[in-house]
């Protein structure tokens, strides 16, 4: 059985468009567009482009915040120090692990929740949506503390509630071991951001035309077949955008690690490494270089998704 998607709508040329140029109206609209978007564009340049360029520039120096007089140009040596340090590669591995685990679990859970939100009885729909979205409204630091307290060996309830599970006892120190710590960090991240993914997927679900579902039903397709052959192919764009946004977000994980382990037992992420060099050590040059590498990693993920999976960002907005 083949998948069923609607053909892309053809873009129609404006009838009145003169050959080789824009009509006065189009020009006016374009100008208005720039005037409306212009201020936001300038603000974006000031708050994102400027700091990024500043970080790139500073990453070429050996520069300690408390010792500005001894600032010296060192070229790419900061990058060499980072890329030859095993700590950098360990942090990359931890970050990739957290990203892959959390995003895949969130995608499955988020899809389920989106279906629940879409199909819930009309009378309880607002309640269901609100309930699902609550974790997303909680500040990450607060959520990290809540999860830490829950799993703490002294104050937590997890050890006594789940003592029946193999491997869990009153003496299980969740934050004393790399993999147990990462498990709790991933759980906290999943709990907190699944609502975000389900919200994006809900928007995608709403785009699946009912006519296709009905046609498939008439053809005798089962619920499972409709899900795999009609629903998912038609919301591919929404799924890819949700995956992209969450992967970029997950790759920058910091708060939960900072609160729960402080980077102990090999749980440092790349963002944490940047924090430690820049804020704790005050080595602005080295820290900026870590941040630039993190930025490059994030750009590679974004480009990888957009080129590799052919994600069309405009489609997710329903254009």
């Amino acid at each position: 059985m083949s998948t069923t998607t609607l053909p892309p709508t053809k873009k129609t040329e404006p009838v009145s468009a003169p050959r080789g140029g824009l009509s006065d109206r189009s020009k006016a609209e374009r100008r208005l567009g720039w005037r409306l978007a212009g201020p936001a564009f300038v603000v974006m340049l000031a708050v994102t482009a400027y700091p990024i360029l500043q970080a790139v520039y500073e990453s070429l120096f050996s520069y300690r915040l408390t010792d500005p007089d001894n600032r010296s140009f060192t070229g790419l040596s900061n990058y060499w120090v980072i890329l030859t340090d095993s700590l950098w590669w360990e942090s990359i591995a931890v970050t990739v692990f957290i990203t892959v685990v959390t995003v895949s679990v969130e995608l499955v859970l988020g899809f389920g929740l989106a279906m629940v939100m879409a199909k819930a009885l009309k009378s309880i729909r607002p309640v269901v949506r609100a309930a699902i979205l609550i974790p997303y409204a909680v500040i990450t630091v607060v959520s990290a503390f809540a999860w830490q307290f829950a799993f703490d060996i002294n104050t937590g309830f997890v050890n006594s509630w789940f003592a029946w599970l193999p491997g869990v006892s009153a003496d299980t120190d969740w934050f004393g071991d790399k993999w147990l710590s990462l498990l709790v960090i991933c759980l906290a991240e999943i709990w907190k951001t699944t609502p975000f993914i389900s919200l994006l997927l809900l928007a995608g679900l709403a785009q699946v035309p009912d006519v296709l579902q009905e046609a498939a039903q008439v053809d005798g397709a089962t619920w499972w077949q409709r899900l795999w052959r009609v629903t998912i192919p038609n919301m591919k764009a929404a799924i890819m955008v949700a995956l992209l946004f969450r992967s970029l977000d997950a790759f920058r994980v910091f708060d939960s690690i900072f609160i729960m382990t402080g980077g102990a037992n090999g749980t440092e992420s790349v963002s944490f490494l940047a924090y430690r060099q820049t804020i704790a050590r005050l080595e602005i040059g080295l820290g900026s270089a870590v941040s630039v590498l993190l930025f490059i990693a994030v750009v590679l993920i974004a480009v990888g998704f957009i080129k590799g999976f052919k994600v069309d960002l405009s489609q997710a907005r329903g254009e």
Binding site: S62, L65, T66, D67, P68, V81, I82, D85, L87, W88, A137, V138, I139, V141, V142, F145, F149, I153, N154, D171, T172, D173, F175, G176, T261, G262, G263, A264, N265, L273, R276, Q277, I279, A280, R281, L282, E283, L286, V290
Partner: protein, 449 residues
């Protein structure tokens, strides 16, 4: 009590999402603009204070003692200055991070700071501290314990006003020590404690967490064994001579390993607070910790969350020895007062700092907040001895206390130590040399931390 406030931070929930109508959006913009204007006006009012200097004192979180001292000194000044307090983050490393960034930007609103002593060299070297006038230096060091003076000195100059001085004691359960046959009147060694804990099937609580507390412990052990983490400091980080490959460092490593074997299941994540909980609950019968332990137990008894028999069984003694025939060097901590170099009221700030650190205020702070005084005369105060029967032991401990390495690069040294010495369960004779190597290459800018 200082640590009773726990880690809970409050957070704001997001308001329910509602699509604004054009009208409410306009109103939103208008009220935001009004808010900005009001804030600007208020800020302008705040800086215009007429004759009296208005000082801001950045304090570390406590049970309200510093705020009370600020209002007492404001009253005493009779209009010469007013002190308002502003609370810094809870962890001392985070206090430093915030202060360094603001001072690097030459923030003139920082007048007085309650600063953790290990960071004083870094602040002094960066030129963040206003020089202490000679007459003030003379007055504020009178009768002050030597460790607190050392902790306020950099390059042979007093750069801070000693305020309160902290030290760790050995806390023990009298019943368990007796059952183990330990004579607590005599100095005890870590080895004896480990033996006693094994015999009595109990735990030793120490700070195994990967945090500043671990550096405190490592430093105290190496100092007690007669060594130093930094043998010789230098301006150029490449010339700093480390002492982590010494016999003292390997003796310290041996102690860490054996203590962690009787440290309980959460030894590698336990900090001071978790240690006290274990001690109160009876899981641990020996513990090295700061004197807030006592106030916390009495407070818990008063609140009805702890049985009165628990603190009755508390005993306290000098910090355990590493070597049988060498006196222990307990940790030195506490808070010293520094004046920001960019303050517009340096003179008033020093007058205020002198008032804050007066023996009367130190006694008040000791009694009310449980933070020991740096001035030795306070320890003769009968009221202090009444509330803190440990006072004489604390004073003796302060006199023997060893500061953490005095270096501009303290946070690098401490961070590297924490990375290598954690978890204590995996410490071996090679740990010291490995830490030494890491610190050297981090200081040379060849490695990440």
């Amino acid at each position: 009590m200082p640590n009773a406030d726990g880690y809970v931070r409050t957070g704001r929930g997001s308001p329910p999402v509602r699509t604004p109508t054009p009208r409410s959006r306009r109103r939103g913009v208008a009220s935001a603009a009004a808010l900005l204007v009001t804030a600007g006006t208020l800020a302008a009012c705040g800086s215009d204070d007429g004759g009296a200097s208005s000082l801001t004192w950045y304090t570390n979180p406590d049970a309200g003692g510093q705020a009370e001292i600020a209002s007492r000194c404001t009253e005493e000044a009779g209009g010469a200055y007013t002190i308002s307090t502003s609370v810094l983050p809870r962890e001392s490393s985070q206090q430093r991070e915030q202060l360094v960034r603001r001072l690097a930007a030459e923030d003139s609103s920082i007048d007085i700071i309650s600063l953790d002593p290990p960071y004083i060299p870094e602040f002094a070297e960066a030129g963040f501290l206003a020089p202490v006038p000679d007459d003030v230096a003379e007055r504020v060091t009178q009768d002050v314990v030597q460790s607190a003076i050392d902790g306020s000195t950099w390059n042979d100059q007093l750069v801070a006003v000693p305020f309160w001085a902290n030290t760790q004691l050995l806390w023990y359960k009298k019943s368990v020590a007796e059952a183990a046959g330990l004579d607590m009147e005599e100095p005890v060694t870590w080895e004896q404690l480990v033996q006693a804990a094994e015999d009595q099937d109990t735990q030793i609580a120490a700070q195994g967490i990967r945090a500043e507390a671990l550096t405190v412990w490592v430093n105290a052990l190496i100092e007690s064994a007669g060594g130093h983490i930094i043998e010789e400091t230098a301006d150029d980080p490449a010339d700093i001579k480390l002492g982590l490959e010494s016999d003292a460092a390997s003796a310290a490593a041996e102690v860490m390993k054996s203590v962690s074997s009787v440290g309980g299941p959460a030894f590698t994540t336990a900090g001071e607070d978790a240690n006290v909980t274990d001690f109160e609950e009876g899981d641990a019968s020996f513990m090295v910790n700061w004197p807030f332990v006592w106030g916390r137990a009495l407070g818990a008894v008063e609140a009805g969350t702890l049985d009165a028999s628990v603190p009755d069984d508390y005993g306290w003694a000098q910090y355990p020895r590493v070597l049988e025939d060498e006196e222990s060097r307990p940790p030195y901590g506490g808070i010293n007062l520094v004046v920001g170099a960019y303050s517009e009221n340096v003179e008033a700030a020093y007058a205020a700092a002198e008032c804050i650190a007066s023996p009367e205020n130190q006694a008040y702070y000791f009694i009310s907040n449980g933070n020991p005084a740096s001035n030795s005369t306070v320890y003769d105060d009968p009221e202090v001895i009444d509330v803190f029967p440990q006072a004489p032991v604390i004073l003796e401990s302060l006199e023997n206390a060893a500061p953490r390495p005095l270096t501009v690069y303290y946070s690098e040294v401490s961070g590297a130590l924490q990375r290598i010495y954690h978890p204590a369960t995996a410490v071996d004779p090679e740990t010291g040399p490995r830490a030494s190597e890491l610190i050297s290459s981090v200081l040379a800018g060849e490695q990440l931390l």
